[in-house]
Protein backbone atom coordinates (compact mmCIF):
# COMPACT_ATOMS: atom_id res chain seq x y z
CA UNK A 1 0.00 0.00 0.00
CA UNK A 2 2.87 2.33 0.67
CA UNK A 3 3.87 1.89 -2.97
CA UNK A 4 0.44 3.09 -3.98
CA UNK A 5 0.71 6.10 -1.71
CA UNK A 6 4.16 6.85 -3.03
CA UNK A 7 2.97 6.62 -6.61
CA UNK A 8 -0.03 8.86 -6.10
CA UNK A 9 1.98 11.36 -4.09
CA UNK A 10 4.74 11.68 -6.65
CA UNK A 11 2.38 12.17 -9.57
CA UNK A 12 0.15 14.63 -7.76
CA UNK A 13 3.03 16.61 -6.31
CA UNK A 14 4.82 16.86 -9.66
CA UNK A 15 1.65 17.95 -11.44
CA UNK A 16 0.79 20.41 -8.69
CA UNK A 17 4.26 21.95 -8.64
CA UNK A 18 4.25 22.34 -12.40
CA UNK A 19 0.78 23.86 -12.32
CA UNK A 20 1.86 26.39 -9.71
CA UNK A 21 4.93 27.24 -11.77
CA UNK A 22 2.77 27.79 -14.85
CA UNK A 23 0.38 30.09 -13.06
CA UNK A 24 3.21 32.05 -11.46
CA UNK A 25 5.06 32.37 -14.75
CA UNK A 26 1.97 33.56 -16.56
CA UNK A 27 1.16 36.07 -13.87
CA UNK A 28 4.68 37.48 -13.92
CA UNK A 29 4.68 37.78 -17.71
CA UNK A 30 1.22 39.35 -17.84
CA UNK A 31 2.37 41.93 -15.35
CA UNK A 32 5.43 42.68 -17.42
CA UNK A 33 3.25 43.14 -20.48
CA UNK A 34 0.89 45.42 -18.58
CA UNK A 35 3.79 47.48 -17.32
CA UNK A 36 5.22 47.70 -20.79
CA UNK A 37 1.99 48.84 -22.34
CA UNK A 38 1.23 51.33 -19.59
CA UNK A 39 4.71 52.73 -19.76
CA UNK A 40 4.57 53.29 -23.47
CA UNK A 41 1.30 55.22 -23.25
CA UNK A 42 2.21 56.73 -19.87
CA UNK A 43 4.23 59.81 -20.83
CA UNK A 44 1.45 61.02 -23.08
CA UNK A 45 -1.15 61.07 -20.33
CA UNK A 46 0.60 64.08 -18.83
CA UNK A 47 3.60 64.30 -16.51
CA UNK A 48 1.81 63.59 -13.20
CA UNK A 49 0.03 60.56 -14.52
CA UNK A 50 3.03 59.20 -16.37
CA UNK A 51 5.27 57.92 -13.60
CA UNK A 52 2.27 56.93 -11.49
CA UNK A 53 0.84 54.79 -14.24
CA UNK A 54 4.23 53.42 -14.97
CA UNK A 55 4.69 52.42 -11.39
CA UNK A 56 1.41 50.60 -10.96
CA UNK A 57 1.66 46.88 -11.63
CA UNK B 1 21.14 15.49 -58.53
CA UNK B 2 23.70 12.71 -58.69
CA UNK B 3 26.25 14.92 -60.33
CA UNK B 4 25.83 17.49 -57.60
CA UNK B 5 26.15 14.75 -55.03
CA UNK B 6 29.39 13.54 -56.53
CA UNK B 7 30.64 17.11 -56.67
CA UNK B 8 29.91 17.77 -53.03
CA UNK B 9 31.19 14.42 -51.86
CA UNK B 10 34.38 14.97 -53.77
CA UNK B 11 34.81 18.39 -52.23
CA UNK B 12 34.29 17.16 -48.68
CA UNK B 13 36.60 14.21 -49.13
CA UNK B 14 39.26 16.38 -50.69
CA UNK B 15 39.07 18.73 -47.72
CA UNK B 16 39.41 15.73 -45.45
CA UNK B 17 42.28 14.44 -47.48
CA UNK B 18 44.13 17.71 -47.18
CA UNK B 19 43.39 18.43 -43.54
CA UNK B 20 43.36 14.83 -42.40
CA UNK B 21 41.28 15.66 -39.36
CA UNK B 22 39.50 12.36 -39.55
CA UNK B 23 42.69 10.43 -39.59
CA UNK B 24 44.58 12.42 -37.04
CA UNK B 25 41.83 13.19 -34.56
CA UNK B 26 38.73 11.09 -34.93
CA UNK B 27 40.48 7.78 -35.44
CA UNK B 28 42.71 8.12 -32.39
CA UNK B 29 39.62 9.12 -30.43
CA UNK B 30 38.01 5.88 -31.50
CA UNK B 31 41.02 3.90 -30.36
CA UNK B 32 41.05 5.73 -27.05
CA UNK B 33 37.39 4.85 -26.61
CA UNK B 34 38.16 1.18 -27.16
CA UNK B 35 40.94 1.32 -24.61
CA UNK B 36 38.71 3.04 -22.07
CA UNK B 37 36.04 0.42 -22.58
CA UNK B 38 38.63 -2.21 -21.84
CA UNK B 39 39.51 -0.45 -18.61
CA UNK B 40 35.83 -0.22 -17.74
CA UNK B 41 35.08 -3.87 -18.36
CA UNK B 42 38.06 -5.19 -16.53
CA UNK B 43 40.59 -7.82 -17.46
CA UNK B 44 38.05 -10.59 -18.00
CA UNK B 45 38.68 -11.50 -21.64
CA UNK B 46 35.49 -13.46 -21.98
CA UNK B 47 33.46 -10.49 -20.89
CA UNK B 48 35.26 -8.26 -23.33
CA UNK B 49 34.79 -10.70 -26.18
CA UNK B 50 31.10 -10.88 -25.39
CA UNK B 51 30.79 -7.14 -25.19
CA UNK B 52 32.89 -6.50 -28.29
CA UNK B 53 29.97 -5.97 -30.71
CA UNK B 54 28.27 -3.42 -28.51
CA UNK B 55 31.46 -1.59 -27.68
CA UNK B 56 32.41 -1.44 -31.33
CA UNK B 57 29.13 0.20 -32.26
CA UNK B 58 29.20 2.63 -29.36
CA UNK B 59 32.67 3.72 -30.44
CA UNK B 60 31.35 4.10 -33.99
CA UNK B 61 28.48 6.25 -32.72
CA UNK B 62 30.86 8.58 -30.92
CA UNK B 63 33.02 8.83 -34.02
CA UNK B 64 29.93 9.58 -36.06
CA UNK B 65 29.15 12.57 -33.89
CA UNK B 66 32.64 13.89 -34.42
CA UNK B 67 32.59 13.23 -38.15
CA UNK B 68 29.24 14.99 -38.53
CA UNK B 69 30.38 17.97 -36.50
CA UNK B 70 33.36 18.24 -38.77
CA UNK B 71 31.20 17.90 -41.87
CA UNK B 72 29.03 20.78 -40.71
CA UNK B 73 31.81 23.04 -39.49
CA UNK B 74 33.64 22.74 -42.80
CA UNK B 75 31.04 25.08 -44.20
CA UNK B 76 30.64 27.51 -41.36
CA UNK B 77 33.54 29.76 -42.28
CA UNK B 78 33.54 32.56 -44.84
CA UNK B 79 29.86 32.21 -45.57
CA UNK B 80 30.52 28.99 -47.40
CA UNK B 81 27.06 27.73 -46.55
CA UNK B 82 25.38 30.64 -48.24
CA UNK B 83 27.74 30.19 -51.13
CA UNK B 84 26.59 26.61 -51.50
CA UNK B 85 22.96 27.61 -51.52
CA UNK B 86 23.58 30.38 -54.02
CA UNK B 87 25.55 28.09 -56.30
CA UNK B 88 22.33 26.44 -57.35
CA UNK B 89 23.35 22.99 -56.22
CA UNK B 90 20.35 20.75 -55.87
CA UNK B 91 19.72 20.42 -52.10
CA UNK B 92 19.04 16.72 -52.48
CA UNK B 93 22.35 16.35 -54.24
CA UNK B 94 24.04 18.35 -51.51
CA UNK B 95 22.52 16.06 -48.91
CA UNK B 96 23.56 12.88 -50.69
CA UNK B 97 27.02 14.23 -51.28
CA UNK B 98 27.63 15.19 -47.67
CA UNK B 99 26.14 11.91 -46.48
CA UNK B 100 28.37 9.98 -48.82
CA UNK B 101 31.44 11.84 -47.62
CA UNK B 102 30.63 11.20 -43.98
CA UNK B 103 29.86 7.58 -44.77
CA UNK B 104 33.17 7.13 -46.54
CA UNK B 105 35.07 8.51 -43.58
CA UNK B 106 33.08 6.33 -41.19
CA UNK B 107 33.78 3.19 -43.19
CA UNK B 108 37.49 3.78 -42.91
CA UNK B 109 37.14 4.42 -39.19
CA UNK B 110 35.09 1.28 -38.76
CA UNK B 111 37.74 -0.77 -40.47
CA UNK B 112 40.23 0.55 -37.99
CA UNK B 113 37.94 -0.01 -35.02
CA UNK B 114 37.01 -3.50 -36.17
CA UNK B 115 40.65 -4.47 -36.31
CA UNK B 116 41.09 -2.91 -32.90
CA UNK B 117 38.18 -4.83 -31.47
CA UNK B 118 39.43 -8.12 -32.84
CA UNK B 119 42.90 -7.55 -31.52
CA UNK B 120 42.12 -5.92 -28.20
CA UNK B 121 39.05 -7.85 -27.14
CA UNK B 122 39.75 -11.16 -28.75
CA UNK B 123 36.54 -11.15 -30.73
CA UNK B 124 36.17 -14.06 -33.10
CA UNK B 125 34.21 -13.57 -36.28
CA UNK B 126 32.53 -16.50 -37.98
CA UNK B 127 30.45 -14.91 -40.72
CA UNK B 128 32.62 -12.08 -42.04
CA UNK B 129 30.35 -10.98 -44.87
CA UNK B 130 27.61 -10.25 -42.36
CA UNK B 131 29.99 -8.05 -40.42
CA UNK B 132 30.95 -6.16 -43.54
CA UNK B 133 27.37 -5.68 -44.73
CA UNK B 134 26.21 -4.59 -41.31
CA UNK B 135 28.94 -2.01 -41.17
CA UNK B 136 28.07 -0.66 -44.59
CA UNK B 137 24.35 -0.47 -43.89
CA UNK B 138 24.86 0.92 -40.43
CA UNK B 139 27.22 3.54 -41.76
CA UNK B 140 24.67 4.72 -44.30
CA UNK B 141 22.07 5.07 -41.57
CA UNK B 142 24.40 6.96 -39.27
CA UNK B 143 25.63 9.26 -42.01
CA UNK B 144 22.08 9.91 -43.24
CA UNK B 145 20.70 10.87 -39.83
CA UNK B 146 23.87 12.68 -38.86
CA UNK B 147 23.88 14.91 -41.93
CA UNK B 148 20.20 15.65 -41.37
CA UNK B 149 20.70 16.78 -37.79
CA UNK B 150 23.90 18.52 -38.69
CA UNK B 151 22.02 20.70 -41.14
CA UNK B 152 19.30 21.35 -38.59
CA UNK B 153 21.80 22.61 -36.06
CA UNK B 154 24.18 24.22 -38.50
CA UNK B 155 23.65 27.81 -37.44
CA UNK B 156 23.71 27.18 -33.74
CA UNK B 157 26.62 28.12 -31.59
CA UNK B 158 26.04 25.44 -29.00
CA UNK B 159 26.00 22.79 -31.67
CA UNK B 160 28.83 20.87 -29.98
CA UNK B 161 26.69 19.96 -27.03
CA UNK B 162 23.35 19.94 -28.76
CA UNK B 163 24.08 17.71 -31.73
CA UNK B 164 25.00 14.55 -29.79
CA UNK B 165 21.96 14.97 -27.61
CA UNK B 166 19.70 15.23 -30.63
CA UNK B 167 21.38 12.68 -32.84
CA UNK B 168 22.09 9.73 -30.59
CA UNK B 169 18.50 8.77 -29.71
CA UNK B 170 17.72 8.76 -33.42
CA UNK B 171 20.77 6.65 -34.17
CA UNK B 172 19.97 4.16 -31.41
CA UNK B 173 18.28 1.63 -33.72
CA UNK B 174 21.52 1.36 -35.70
CA UNK B 175 23.34 0.56 -32.48
CA UNK B 176 20.73 -2.04 -31.59
CA UNK B 177 20.71 -3.67 -35.00
CA UNK B 178 24.45 -3.48 -35.53
CA UNK B 179 25.17 -5.08 -32.18
CA UNK B 180 22.71 -7.89 -32.77
CA UNK B 181 24.10 -8.58 -36.22
CA UNK B 182 27.63 -8.70 -34.93
CA UNK B 183 26.57 -10.99 -32.14
CA UNK B 184 24.91 -13.25 -34.68
CA UNK B 185 28.02 -13.25 -36.83
CA UNK B 186 30.44 -14.14 -34.06
CA UNK B 187 31.31 -17.43 -32.49
CA UNK B 188 28.24 -18.72 -30.74
CA UNK B 189 25.69 -16.62 -32.57
CA UNK B 190 22.75 -17.47 -34.79
CA UNK B 191 23.22 -16.06 -38.30
CA UNK B 192 19.50 -16.24 -39.04
CA UNK B 193 18.84 -13.58 -36.44
CA UNK B 194 21.43 -11.40 -38.08
CA UNK B 195 19.55 -11.54 -41.36
CA UNK B 196 16.40 -10.10 -39.79
CA UNK B 197 18.29 -7.25 -38.23
CA UNK B 198 19.97 -6.54 -41.54
CA UNK B 199 16.55 -6.07 -43.01
CA UNK B 200 15.71 -3.60 -40.25
CA UNK B 201 18.83 -1.64 -41.12
CA UNK B 202 17.81 -1.52 -44.76
CA UNK B 203 14.41 -0.10 -43.81
CA UNK B 204 16.00 2.41 -41.45
CA UNK B 205 18.43 3.56 -44.12
CA UNK B 206 15.73 3.83 -46.76
CA UNK B 207 13.47 5.88 -44.50
CA UNK B 208 16.07 8.40 -43.42
CA UNK B 209 17.77 8.81 -46.76
CA UNK B 210 14.35 9.44 -48.29
CA UNK B 211 13.55 11.98 -45.59
CA UNK B 212 16.88 13.65 -46.13
CA UNK B 213 16.52 13.87 -49.90
CA UNK B 214 13.07 15.39 -49.60
CA UNK B 215 13.54 17.69 -46.62
CA UNK B 216 17.14 18.83 -46.87
CA UNK B 217 16.19 21.86 -48.92
CA UNK B 218 13.63 23.21 -46.46
CA UNK B 219 15.90 22.42 -43.54
CA UNK B 220 18.75 24.37 -45.09
CA UNK B 221 16.60 27.44 -45.23
CA UNK B 222 16.37 27.52 -41.47
CA UNK B 223 20.07 27.56 -40.77
Amino acid sequence: MRYVTAGYTVVLVVLALYAVQLVWRRRRLARAVDRAMARSTGPLAGPPAGPATGGAP
Amino acid sequence: MWRDAALVAGKDLRIEGRSRVGLSQVAPFGIVALVLFAFALGPDRQLMAKGAPGLFWVAVLFCTVLAVQRSVSVESSDGARDGLRLSGIDPAGLYLGKTAAVAAQLVVLELLLAVGVILLYGARIEVPWMIVVSCLLGTVGLAATGTLYGALSAGIRVRETLLPFLLLPIAAPVLLAGTRIWQAAMAGGTPATGMQWLRLLVVFDAVYVAIGVVLFGPIQETA
Partner: protein, 307 residues
Protein backbone atom coordinates in the same frame (compact mmCIF):
# COMPACT_ATOMS: atom_id res chain seq x y z
CA UNK C 1 -9.05 38.86 -8.51
CA UNK C 2 -6.18 41.29 -9.15
CA UNK C 3 -5.53 39.35 -12.27
CA UNK C 4 -8.92 40.23 -13.64
CA UNK C 5 -8.53 43.93 -12.96
CA UNK C 6 -5.16 44.09 -14.66
CA UNK C 7 -6.63 42.23 -17.56
CA UNK C 8 -9.41 44.81 -17.75
CA UNK C 9 -7.06 47.80 -17.80
CA UNK C 10 -4.84 46.03 -20.26
CA UNK C 11 -7.81 45.42 -22.48
CA UNK C 12 -8.58 49.13 -22.45
CA UNK C 13 -5.06 50.20 -23.38
CA UNK C 14 -4.64 47.36 -25.77
CA UNK C 15 -7.74 48.24 -27.72
CA UNK C 16 -5.87 51.02 -29.39
CA UNK C 17 -2.47 49.39 -29.12
CA UNK C 18 -2.85 46.00 -30.65
CA UNK C 19 -3.51 47.13 -34.16
CA UNK C 20 -0.60 49.50 -34.57
CA UNK C 21 2.20 48.18 -36.66
CA UNK C 22 5.47 49.94 -36.04
CA UNK C 23 8.23 47.69 -37.11
CA UNK C 24 11.17 49.96 -37.72
CA UNK C 25 13.26 51.03 -34.77
CA UNK C 26 13.63 54.48 -36.29
CA UNK C 27 9.87 54.75 -36.43
CA UNK C 28 9.68 53.70 -32.79
CA UNK C 29 12.17 56.23 -31.57
CA UNK C 30 10.23 58.96 -33.26
CA UNK C 31 6.95 57.54 -32.15
CA UNK C 32 8.09 56.67 -28.64
CA UNK C 33 7.00 60.07 -27.52
CA UNK C 34 3.88 59.93 -29.61
CA UNK C 35 0.83 57.75 -29.11
CA UNK C 36 2.33 54.60 -30.64
CA UNK C 37 2.73 51.87 -28.09
CA UNK C 38 5.32 49.48 -29.49
CA UNK C 39 3.80 46.46 -31.07
CA UNK C 40 6.02 44.77 -33.59
CA UNK C 41 3.78 42.96 -35.98
CA UNK C 42 4.87 40.83 -38.86
CA UNK C 43 2.40 39.93 -41.58
CA UNK C 44 0.23 36.85 -41.72
CA UNK C 45 2.45 34.41 -39.81
CA UNK C 46 1.26 35.83 -36.53
CA UNK C 47 4.66 36.58 -35.04
CA UNK C 48 3.06 38.48 -32.26
CA UNK C 49 -0.57 38.07 -31.47
CA UNK C 50 -2.25 40.25 -28.95
CA UNK C 51 -0.79 39.48 -25.55
CA UNK C 52 -4.11 40.17 -23.92
CA UNK C 53 -6.33 37.21 -23.25
CA UNK C 54 -9.98 37.64 -24.05
CA UNK C 55 -12.24 37.32 -21.00
CA UNK C 56 -14.13 34.48 -22.62
CA UNK C 57 -11.01 32.45 -23.20
CA UNK C 58 -9.98 33.13 -19.63
CA UNK C 59 -13.32 31.87 -18.43
CA UNK C 60 -13.03 28.68 -20.44
CA UNK C 61 -9.57 28.14 -19.08
CA UNK C 62 -10.78 28.58 -15.54
CA UNK C 63 -13.68 26.21 -16.12
CA UNK C 64 -11.43 23.50 -17.48
CA UNK C 65 -9.04 24.01 -14.61
CA UNK C 66 -11.81 23.64 -12.10
CA UNK C 67 -13.14 20.51 -13.75
CA UNK C 68 -9.67 19.07 -13.91
CA UNK C 69 -9.10 19.71 -10.23
CA UNK C 70 -12.42 18.23 -9.21
CA UNK C 71 -11.90 15.24 -11.47
CA UNK C 72 -8.44 14.56 -10.11
CA UNK C 73 -9.52 14.84 -6.50
CA UNK C 74 -12.44 12.54 -7.21
CA UNK C 75 -10.17 10.02 -8.89
CA UNK C 76 -7.78 10.01 -5.98
CA UNK C 77 -10.57 9.62 -3.47
CA UNK C 78 -12.26 6.84 -5.41
CA UNK C 79 -9.01 5.20 -6.30
CA UNK C 80 -7.59 5.03 -2.84
CA UNK C 81 -10.61 4.63 -0.61
CA UNK C 82 -13.74 3.62 -2.46
CA UNK C 83 -12.71 1.00 -4.99
CA UNK C 84 -11.95 -2.53 -3.86
CA UNK C 85 -8.50 -4.13 -4.03
CA UNK C 86 -7.77 -6.59 -6.77
CA UNK C 87 -7.75 -10.36 -6.25
CA UNK C 88 -4.25 -10.90 -7.58
CA UNK C 89 -2.58 -7.54 -7.17
CA UNK C 90 -4.22 -6.40 -3.99
CA UNK C 91 -3.94 -2.71 -3.28
CA UNK C 92 -1.33 -2.22 -5.98
CA UNK C 93 -4.06 -2.19 -8.60
CA UNK C 94 -5.00 1.28 -7.35
CA UNK C 95 -2.14 2.63 -9.41
CA UNK C 96 -4.08 1.70 -12.53
CA UNK C 97 -6.21 4.76 -12.00
CA UNK C 98 -3.35 7.15 -12.58
CA UNK C 99 -0.49 5.40 -14.34
CA UNK C 100 -2.25 4.51 -17.62
CA UNK C 101 -3.83 7.96 -17.52
CA UNK C 102 -0.56 9.89 -17.38
CA UNK C 103 0.95 7.44 -19.86
CA UNK C 104 -1.79 8.01 -22.39
CA UNK C 105 -1.40 11.77 -22.04
CA UNK C 106 2.37 11.75 -22.32
CA UNK C 107 2.82 9.19 -25.06
CA UNK C 108 -0.18 9.75 -27.26
CA UNK C 109 -1.93 13.01 -26.50
CA UNK C 110 1.04 15.32 -25.91
CA UNK C 111 3.37 13.69 -28.38
CA UNK C 112 0.67 13.24 -31.01
CA UNK C 113 -0.44 16.84 -30.67
CA UNK C 114 3.15 18.05 -30.91
CA UNK C 115 3.77 15.99 -34.04
CA UNK C 116 0.55 17.05 -35.75
CA UNK C 117 1.07 20.70 -34.81
CA UNK C 118 4.60 20.59 -36.14
CA UNK C 119 3.38 19.10 -39.38
CA UNK C 120 0.72 21.79 -39.67
CA UNK C 121 3.33 24.45 -39.08
CA UNK C 122 5.59 23.12 -41.80
CA UNK C 123 2.75 22.74 -44.28
CA UNK C 124 2.75 25.99 -46.22
CA UNK C 125 -0.99 26.41 -46.38
CA UNK C 126 -1.51 26.10 -42.66
CA UNK C 127 1.70 27.75 -41.55
CA UNK C 128 1.15 29.90 -38.51
CA UNK C 129 3.13 30.39 -35.36
CA UNK C 130 0.04 29.30 -33.50
CA UNK C 131 0.93 25.70 -34.36
CA UNK C 132 4.49 26.22 -33.29
CA UNK C 133 3.46 27.62 -29.91
CA UNK C 134 0.96 24.83 -29.50
CA UNK C 135 3.60 22.21 -30.24
CA UNK C 136 6.05 23.76 -27.81
CA UNK C 137 3.44 23.94 -25.07
CA UNK C 138 2.44 20.37 -25.77
CA UNK C 139 6.02 19.14 -25.54
CA UNK C 140 6.75 20.92 -22.31
CA UNK C 141 3.63 19.65 -20.59
CA UNK C 142 4.29 16.28 -22.18
CA UNK C 143 7.70 16.12 -20.48
CA UNK C 144 6.06 16.56 -17.10
CA UNK C 145 3.56 13.80 -17.80
CA UNK C 146 6.31 11.62 -19.22
CA UNK C 147 8.28 11.88 -15.99
CA UNK C 148 5.11 11.03 -14.07
CA UNK C 149 4.64 8.01 -16.31
CA UNK C 150 8.14 6.71 -15.79
CA UNK C 151 8.10 7.24 -12.05
CA UNK C 152 4.64 5.80 -11.48
CA UNK C 153 5.45 2.90 -13.76
CA UNK C 154 8.67 2.25 -11.90
CA UNK C 155 6.93 2.43 -8.53
CA UNK C 156 4.32 0.00 -9.77
CA UNK C 157 6.97 -2.28 -11.21
CA UNK C 158 9.08 -2.67 -8.11
CA UNK C 159 6.62 -4.61 -5.95
CA UNK C 160 5.10 -6.35 -8.96
CA UNK C 161 8.15 -7.55 -10.88
CA UNK C 162 10.84 -6.93 -8.30
CA UNK C 163 12.77 -4.46 -10.42
CA UNK C 164 12.73 -0.68 -10.61
CA UNK C 165 13.32 -0.76 -14.32
CA UNK C 166 13.11 -3.18 -17.23
CA UNK C 167 14.28 -2.76 -20.78
CA UNK C 168 11.05 -3.73 -22.44
CA UNK C 169 9.76 -1.89 -25.49
CA UNK C 170 7.25 0.28 -23.69
CA UNK C 171 9.43 1.60 -20.91
CA UNK C 172 12.38 2.07 -23.23
CA UNK C 173 10.29 3.94 -25.78
CA UNK C 174 8.91 6.16 -23.06
CA UNK C 175 12.42 6.93 -21.84
CA UNK C 176 13.65 7.64 -25.37
CA UNK C 177 10.64 9.89 -25.93
CA UNK C 178 11.58 11.82 -22.82
CA UNK C 179 15.08 12.35 -24.14
CA UNK C 180 13.74 13.42 -27.53
CA UNK C 181 11.33 15.86 -25.86
CA UNK C 182 14.16 17.31 -23.79
CA UNK C 183 16.18 17.69 -26.97
CA UNK C 184 13.30 19.59 -28.52
CA UNK C 185 13.13 21.93 -25.54
CA UNK C 186 16.89 22.42 -25.54
CA UNK C 187 16.77 23.35 -29.21
CA UNK C 188 14.03 25.87 -28.54
CA UNK C 189 16.17 27.64 -25.97
CA UNK C 190 18.68 28.57 -28.65
CA UNK C 191 18.11 32.21 -29.49
CA UNK C 192 16.71 32.65 -32.96
CA UNK C 193 14.04 34.37 -34.96
CA UNK C 194 10.61 32.95 -34.14
CA UNK C 195 10.16 31.48 -37.60
CA UNK C 196 13.61 29.90 -37.62
CA UNK C 197 13.08 28.46 -34.19
CA UNK C 198 9.67 27.20 -35.21
CA UNK C 199 11.00 25.41 -38.28
CA UNK C 200 13.87 23.82 -36.45
CA UNK C 201 11.62 22.60 -33.68
CA UNK C 202 9.06 21.31 -36.12
CA UNK C 203 11.63 19.24 -37.97
CA UNK C 204 12.98 17.80 -34.74
CA UNK C 205 9.48 16.88 -33.64
CA UNK C 206 8.81 15.16 -36.93
CA UNK C 207 12.03 13.19 -36.82
CA UNK C 208 11.18 12.14 -33.30
CA UNK C 209 7.78 10.99 -34.52
CA UNK C 210 9.50 8.81 -37.10
CA UNK C 211 12.02 7.51 -34.61
CA UNK C 212 9.73 6.40 -31.80
CA UNK C 213 7.94 3.62 -33.69
CA UNK C 214 11.28 2.37 -35.00
CA UNK C 215 12.71 2.28 -31.49
CA UNK C 216 9.64 0.60 -30.09
CA UNK C 217 9.72 -2.05 -32.76
CA UNK C 218 13.46 -2.61 -32.45
CA UNK C 219 13.45 -2.96 -28.70
CA UNK C 220 10.48 -5.30 -28.84
CA UNK C 221 12.33 -7.48 -31.28
CA UNK C 222 15.48 -7.17 -29.28
CA UNK C 223 13.72 -8.58 -26.25
CA UNK C 224 11.76 -11.35 -27.89
CA UNK C 225 14.71 -12.68 -29.86
CA UNK C 226 16.91 -12.91 -26.84
CA UNK C 227 16.42 -16.30 -25.35
CA UNK C 228 15.70 -16.28 -21.71
CA UNK C 229 14.62 -12.66 -21.51
CA UNK C 230 11.54 -12.15 -19.43
CA UNK C 231 9.12 -10.10 -21.45
CA UNK C 232 7.47 -8.06 -18.81
CA UNK C 233 3.86 -7.38 -19.58
CA UNK C 234 3.48 -3.75 -18.68
CA UNK C 235 -0.25 -4.15 -19.06
CA UNK C 236 -0.75 -6.38 -16.08
CA UNK C 237 -4.41 -6.38 -17.13
CA UNK C 238 -6.17 -6.70 -13.84
CA UNK C 239 -9.83 -7.56 -13.93
CA UNK C 240 -11.55 -4.22 -14.17
CA UNK C 241 -15.25 -4.03 -13.50
CA UNK C 242 -17.88 -2.03 -11.70
CA UNK C 243 -16.62 0.91 -9.70
CA UNK C 244 -13.09 0.19 -10.87
CA UNK C 245 -14.05 0.70 -14.49
CA UNK C 246 -15.74 4.02 -13.77
CA UNK C 247 -12.83 5.23 -11.71
CA UNK C 248 -10.44 4.25 -14.45
CA UNK C 249 -12.46 6.22 -16.97
CA UNK C 250 -12.67 9.15 -14.59
CA UNK C 251 -8.92 9.02 -14.15
CA UNK C 252 -8.36 9.22 -17.88
CA UNK C 253 -10.78 12.10 -18.29
CA UNK C 254 -9.45 14.02 -15.29
CA UNK C 255 -5.82 13.72 -16.35
CA UNK C 256 -6.71 14.68 -19.90
CA UNK C 257 -8.40 17.80 -18.55
CA UNK C 258 -5.33 18.55 -16.46
CA UNK C 259 -3.25 18.32 -19.62
CA UNK C 260 -5.61 20.58 -21.54
CA UNK C 261 -5.59 23.19 -18.79
CA UNK C 262 -1.80 23.10 -18.54
CA UNK C 263 -1.60 23.32 -22.32
CA UNK C 264 -3.78 26.43 -22.37
CA UNK C 265 -1.77 28.20 -19.69
CA UNK C 266 1.54 27.18 -21.21
CA UNK C 267 0.35 28.37 -24.61
CA UNK C 268 -0.61 31.70 -23.11
CA UNK C 269 2.85 31.92 -21.56
CA UNK C 270 4.32 31.34 -25.01
CA UNK C 271 2.30 34.18 -26.47
CA UNK C 272 3.37 36.54 -23.70
CA UNK C 273 7.02 35.57 -23.96
CA UNK C 274 7.02 36.00 -27.71
CA UNK C 275 5.37 39.41 -27.45
CA UNK C 276 7.84 40.61 -24.85
CA UNK C 277 10.72 39.21 -26.82
CA UNK C 278 9.64 40.80 -30.08
CA UNK C 279 9.15 44.17 -28.45
CA UNK C 280 12.17 44.05 -26.17
CA UNK C 281 14.12 46.75 -27.88
CA UNK C 282 11.12 48.94 -28.43
CA UNK C 283 10.08 48.58 -24.82
CA UNK C 284 13.53 49.39 -23.54
CA UNK C 285 13.61 52.49 -25.68
CA UNK C 286 10.15 53.58 -24.56
CA UNK C 287 11.19 53.01 -20.98
CA UNK C 288 14.24 55.16 -21.45
CA UNK C 289 12.16 57.93 -22.91
CA UNK C 290 9.54 57.78 -20.19
CA UNK C 291 12.22 57.83 -17.49
CA UNK C 292 13.82 61.07 -18.49
CA UNK C 293 10.95 62.64 -20.40
CA UNK C 294 13.17 62.63 -23.44
CA UNK C 295 16.27 63.77 -21.54
CA UNK C 296 18.93 61.26 -20.80
CA UNK C 297 20.64 63.19 -18.01
CA UNK C 298 20.52 62.59 -14.28
CA UNK C 299 20.00 59.33 -12.45
CA UNK C 300 16.42 58.21 -12.12
CA UNK C 301 16.48 58.12 -8.33
CA UNK C 302 17.05 61.86 -8.06
CA UNK C 303 13.71 62.77 -9.54
CA UNK C 304 10.75 62.26 -7.20
CA UNK C 305 8.00 60.18 -8.61
CA UNK C 306 10.18 58.82 -11.37
CA UNK C 307 9.08 55.38 -12.61
Amino acid sequence: MTDDSTTATATATAAGAADDPSTAIAGTIGSGLVAHPPTAVAPNTGVTVSPVQSPRSRMIERAIGALALVGTVATVWLGIWVTPPDKTQGDLVRLVYIHPGVAWVALYLAFGLAAVSSLLYLWPRTRSLFWDRLAAASVEVGVVFNVCTLVSGSIWGKPTWGVWWAWDARLTSTAVLLVLFLGYLALRRVPAEPEVRARRSAFVALFAAVDIPIIHFSVNWWNTLHQGATVLNANLSPQIHGSMAWTLLLGFVALTLVFVWMLLVRYRIGVLEDWLGANELDLALAERHSEGSGRLDGPVADRPGAA
